[in-house]
């Protein structure tokens, strides 16, 4: 049976938008806008869901979980060129300073960006009375990602545009009893 989730869709969208605005404007001096919101019900797509991104574009995915009154995981899928630009901005480097094989540097930078985004999201949840703790970020690279969620009460996918480049936030969460 579908569980009633304590946070409305509007609130969730606002949390995601605020987290992106805060991190992108402070750390990258850029803005990003929501282009698409995908609502996935609990009993659908159990076999995995294709993300709203070009499956042939190399992507980097950062993920951080949170545990508490609300437990969940947030994935940030970013096109590699955007990830490289973000890394350059964060570390005050020029485009050419990062080699295509410099995975460790880009992974760490995107891991930290994900940590900040999920941190902002989680802190806003705390302010609403849902205390939770974060896990350590982890990073995946590749293309044609799909996520097969374990048991979740709510899953929302937000597609953002940042100066013509795309990235996606995939939020999976459930309320703990």
């Amino acid at each position: 049976m579908q569980q009633t989730f304590p946070i409305s869709d509007d609130e969730l969208q606002s949390l995601a938008k605020n987290a992106i605005d805060s991190v992108f404007s402070t750390m990258l001096e850029r803005t990003a806008n929501i282009k698409e919101v995908i609502k996935i019900e609990e009993d659908t797509h159990s076999e995995g869901m294709q993300l709203p991104v070009d499956s042939n574009t190399p992507m980097i995915a950062g993920t951080v979980g949170f545990i508490g009154n609300l437990t969940g995981i947030i994935y940030i899928f970013m096109e590699l060129p955007l990830a490289m630009e973000a890394t350059c901005k964060l570390l005050d480097m020029e485009d050419g300073d990062i080699g295509s094989e410099d995975h460790e540097l880009v992974n760490d930078a995107i891991g930290e960006l994900t940590n900040m985004i999920v941190g902002t999201f989680k802190n806003d949840l705390s302010n609403k009375g849902y205390e939770c703790r974060m896990t350590i970020p982890s990073i995946l690279r590749g293309s044609n990602f799909s996520i097969e969620p374990a048991e979740v009460a709510l899953r929302r996918i937000f597609k953002f545009d940042c100066d013509g480049r795309s990235f996606v936030i995939d939020v999976l969460m459930k309320e703990e009893n």
Binding site: S22, V23, T26, M27, T87, L90, L91, D92, E104, L105, D108, A109, G111, E112, N115, M116, V118, G119, T120, K122, N123, S126, N127, E131, C132, R133, M134, T135, I136
Partner: protein
Amino acid sequence: MRLKILTVDDSKTVRIIVKKSFKGFDCEITEAQNGVEGLAMAAKVTPDIILLDITMPVMDGVEMLTKLKSDPALKAIPVIMLTAEAGRENVMKIAKIGVRDYIVKPFKENVLVDKVSRVVDLRPMGEAAPIQKKIDDPIDILVVDDKPAIISQITEGFGHTPWNVKGVASTGEAIDFCQKKLPDCIIISLSLPEDAAITLFRIIRSNAKTKYVPLFGLSVKTAVEEQARAQQAGFSTIIHKPIDFEELETKIGKAVNLDSSGKYFQMGEGFMTVRLPKTCNASVVNEVSSYLKDKTSEAVNAGISKIIFDAQNVASLNMDVIKLLLTSMKTCRDLSLKYALTGNQAVIEESKKFEESKDWKFCDTVENAKASI
């Protein structure tokens, strides 16, 4: 002396951002990627301030902070938490353990620099450091307390030093005093009515002229609540009443960055004498250790090749003193310097109880020690 900042964060990105934030300042950044490395690095370099993340593998920031605050040699190092975890529960937890401030990620580099400069004396690169005063130079200490007896006690307690103590009873008088003459250090009674100590602290820290003046809170040891409020407001050092003047003198010396090597090191007639005081606690041992390398080099450059370690005044030989003497003696051997030890009966007896010191030979006077080498 360059300011030492230790950044403890599992993200290399954050450590790089911290480094570039302080690029224009006269400071040295050391890094650690978890709490275990952070504690080891803190013990090794004794940083002036630590920027500490919370969520890290191996040992997280809360555990590192707890361990740091329970280590007598490290607990005085101010810590600013730099973290993505800003929930109320987290903030309350870290505030209880004792942090000077916290910065929530994402952060602007100028916010980081501003918060750090509120705690330590951060100077732009190339700006000349003030001439370092010596322990026996006169300095001005302002005491803000509405109890005249305490002001008299502090004045008398520093009677043997060339330090000038000026007492005032209210925050207004304190601000007037600072406008006319910048004190080297301010001691504020935390029991001033209406939280005046915290108000004065904020005024002093927000004024460009006075923001770097070291501030001490003064409180009865049992007034825990008053002390916790003061620490949350930013007081990093609290002096307990009744006042231990030996300890206070050491703390002021450190805060004002006085060269106190003259208390321990004397040179003349071909000898350098390292005189250890009666109370040789971890803080005194650290202070002596911090001068040892430079003073030994100075002695060698002055043609001195004989060193006396004088422990005649030491009340009790603890492991910290033994480690200090072992390190010192090894340095002497490495540099082919001759050395001798002096000690009183208690020190000699205690030295026999430790494996490391049981074979040490002590002379009973400095003259005999000099004659023996």
